[in-house]
Symmetry: C2
Subunit: 390 residues, 2 copies
C-alpha cells in the first residue's frame, strides 16, 4: 500500500530498521546499530527503549570493550510471541509451533482426508487448538497462523481452487480468524516453501530464488528480492504446466506435454511401475532399489534427472534466478538424479544466465513448507516498513 510521508511513517521505518538489525545481528549494541544504519545514537537509543518496553528486545549485560566503554548487548526476545505454521496436504496435516525466530517448539502430523472440506476444516481447527494450548505464556501469545495449501488463493485468504483437494472458493482465512481471533495467512504450498528456504535454508543471501516443489505435480514459488511474486491474481508459479513437448501427452489441465507429466514424482512412479511390472511400487521402495544399485532403478532416476533438467533450463532462461531449490519428497533422490540433471542444465541453458546460478536440493526437506508458513505469519506481525529509493 502506497502512502504519504509523515512523522509516524518515519518512525515506523526507523523502528523497523532497528528491529531488523537486532533480529538478524543479535546480540548487538546501540552504538553498533547507529554505526551500521546511519541513524544517530540518540535516535537508536530512543527506539530501542520503546522496543524494550514492548518486550521485543532485552538487555543481556555488557559485552567486550572495543577500546572504550563496554557496550550494553541487546538481544531479540524471540519468546515474546509464537507462530503456527500448517501444511495442508491431500491426506495429512502437518503443523508446527515456533518462536519468533522460527525455532520449533512443538510439531505434529495427523492423517486426515482433506478432500472433504468439512472434515479438513475440523481437523485443521483441532490441530491449531492443540498448538495454541501448548504455546508458552508470553507477552503477545500466538501472533499468527500461516497455512500452505496445494492450490491458489487470493490476497484475502480465499482458496480459489485447489485441484488435488477438489476445493473451490473456500474462505479459509475468514473461517479460521473467526474461530481463533488470530491473524491468518493462506498461501500456495510452493510459495510458502520458497519463503521457508529463503528464510531458514541455505539461500538466505539469494537475490531471486525459485523453489521447485515436486510431488504429485510440480509447483514453483518465485521470490524476487525479499518478496514473493504472486502474479496478477495469485495464480503464478504453475511452471509444472509449461509445455516441454508441444504435441506431447495430453495433461488434465488442457495443455499438451506439460513438464509435470514427465518430471513429477507421480510420473516417475508410473514409469517405475511399468518397468518393474509392479502396480503398487512406491517411492520409498524405488529409493531402496537405487540404494542397492539396481540398474533399472538407476536408469529411471537418470532419465528423471534429465526431465527435471529440461524444465529447469526453461526456468533459468526465462527468469534468471540466482538460486534454484528442488524440494518435495523427490529431493531425497538427489544422489541419483543430480548428475544427469546438471548435465542437461549445463548443456542446454544459456551460458550467461547460468553463470552465477546455484542449483540445490532442499536441506529443509518437508519442513520448508511449515517453516515458511510460520515465517510469513511472523513477517506480518513485524510488518516491516521498508523504503526503496530508485
Amino acid at each position: 500500500m502506497k502512502q504519504t510521508g509523515d512523522l509516524a511513517l518515519m518512525k515506523k521505518i526507523n523502528k523497523s530498521i532497528v528491529m531488523e538489525r537486532i533480529r538478524h545481528e543479535s546480540p548487538t549494541s546501540r552504538a553498533r546499530i547507529a554505526e551500521k544504519t546511519g541513524l544517530t545514537k540518540a535516535t537508536v537509543s530512543s527506539l530501542v527503549a520503546e522496543l524494550i518496553s514492548s518486550d521485543l528486545v532485552e538487555e543481556i549485560g555488557a559485552g567486550q570493550s572495543r577500546g572504550g566503554r563496554k557496550p550494553m548487548l541487546l538481544l531479540f526476545n524471540c519468546s515474546a510471541g509464537f507462530a503456527i505454521g500448517i501444511d495442508l496436504g491431500t491426506d495429512e496435516i502437518t503443523s508446527i509451533l515456533t518462536d519468533l525466530n522460527g525455532r520449533i517448539v512443538s510439531e505434529s502430523t495427523v492423517r486426515s482426508d482433506n478432500t472433504n472440506v468439512d472434515t479438513a476444516i475440523s481437523a485443521l481447527k483441532a490441530c491449531i487448538g492443540d498448538l495454541i494450548k501448548q504455546a508458552p505464556i508470553s507477552r503477545y501469545g500466538v501472533i499468527g497462523i500461516g497455512v500452505g495449501i496445494p492450490g491458489f488463493s487470493d490476497e484475502q485468504g480465499n482458496i480459489l481452487f485447489a485441484p488435488n483437494l477438489g476445493w473451490e472458493n473456500i474462505g479459509l482465512q475468514a473461517i479460521l480468524e473467526a474461530e481463533f481471533a488470530i491473524p491468518v495467512v493462506i498461501e500456495n504450498e510452493a510459495n510458502v516453501g520458497a519463503v521457508g528456504e529463503k528464510r531458514f535454508g541455505s539461500s538466505q543471501a539469494a537475490a531471486s530464488l525459485v523453489y521447485v516443489s515436486i510431488g504429485a505435480g510440480i509447483g514453483t514459488g518465485i521470490m524476487l528480492k525479499e518478496e514473493l511474486y504472486r502474479g496478477a491474481f495469485g495464480y503464478s508459479g504453475e511452471m509444472g504446466h509449461i509445455s516441454i513437448h508441444h504435441d506431447g501427452k495430453p495433461c488434465r489441465c488442457g495443455n499438451l506435454g506439460c513438464w509435470e507429466l514427465y518430471a513429477s514424482e507421480h510420473a516417475l512412479i508410473q514409469e517405475a511401475r511399468a518397468v518393474y511390472r509392479d502396480p503398487t511400487l512406491d517411492l520409498d521402495t524405488l529409493l531402496k532399489y537405487a540404494q542397492a544399485k539396481e540398474t533399472k532403478a538407476l536408469q529411471l532416476f537418470t532419465q528423471h534427472g534429465r526431465y527435471l533438467g529440461i524444465g529447469i533450463v526453461n526456468i533459468i532462461n526465462s527468469l534468471n534466478p540466482d538460486r534454484i531449490i528442488i524440494g518435495g519428497r523427490l529431493a531425497l533422490a538427489e544422489p541419483w538424479l543430480v548428475a544427469s540433471m546438471i548435465e542437461v542444465v549445463n548443456k542446454r541453458s544459456l551460458p550467461y544466465p547460468r553463470a552465477h546460478l546455484s542449483i540445490q536440493f532442499s536441506t529443509l526437506g518437508s519442513k520448508a513448507t511449515v517453516l515458511g508458513a510460520c515465517s510469513i505469519a511472523i513477517s506480518r506481525f513485524f510488518s516491516s516498513t521498508k523504503v526503496w529509493v530508485e
Copy 2:
C-alpha cells in the same frame, strides 16, 4: 537503495506524490491533490510552490467552480526538459527526442552496420549529437538518454553480451556519459518495449505485463507493478529460449526445440521460403500474399499463430500476467495470426490464470522501444521515491 527515514526523505516522498499527480492528472488543482492524496492543503500548497519555482509545474489560470471559489489549475510543464530514446538494431539506429510527457519532438532512423563496435558507437554519438542540437532551449535541457539494445546489460550500463551484434563487455553507458555528460541508461530491447507499452500504450492499468518482442528471435520484457523485472543479473526474459519441444531442433543457444525456432519472424520466413521455393521472400511480400488471400500464405500464418499460442500458454501458466502484448514487426500480421493463436491459448492454458488476462498486439509498433527508452530516462530524472508498506 534502502535508507533511513528523516525529514528530507519525508519531503521527497510527498513531493514525488504531488508531482506524479500533476504529471498524470494534469490539469488539476491544489485542493484536488490534497483530497486524493490525503496530504493537507497546506502541505500541498508548500510543495506545489517549490515545484513551480523549479519550473516543473505552471499555473494556467482558474478552472470551473464546483460550487465555490474557482480552483487554480496546475499543469505539468512538460517542456522543462527533453529526453532522448534510442533503438540500437543490428543494421539501423532509430532515435527520438521527446518532451517530459514522451511526446515526440524529433525523430530519425539511419542505417548503420552495428556489428562493428566502433562504427556503431560513432553513429550513435552522431545521432545523439544531432538530437541534442535540435532540443529547444529549456530549464533542464536534455535530461537523459535511454538506449534499447538487442542483448543483456548490467545495472552499470555495461553491455554484457549482444549475440546479434557480436558485442561482449562494452561499457556503453560510460562511453556515452563521458561524451555528453548526460545520464545514460542501457536496457534490453524487449524490456524497454515493455516499459513503452506500459507507459504509452493501451496497458497503463495493467498490474503485470509481459511484452513479447518478435523479430529474428523472441525476447520478452516483464513488468511487475510499475517495475521492470531484470532477474538476478540482468539476464531475465529470454523466454524465446524456453523449449517447447524437448527433443526438437537444436538451437544455437545449446538448447533443443526453443520457442523462437518455431515462432520468430525468422522461423516464419524460413518456412515461407521453403513453401514458396523463393529464397529471397521477405515479410512484406508474405503480408501482401496474405492480403490477397493466398491460401499458402494464410496457412503459414495460421500455423505460426498456433506456435505463438503455445509459447504464450507457457507465459500465462508460469507468470499469470494480466496483460500480454505482442510486439515487433510481426505484430503487423495480427489479422492472420490472431484467430489460431487465441484458439490455442483458450484450449491449452489453465482457466484461472487465463480468466482476467488480455492479450493484445502492439499499437505502438516500432515506437514502443524508443518511447520506452525515453520513459526510463524520464523516470530516472524524476527519481520517484516510492514507499511500500508491507
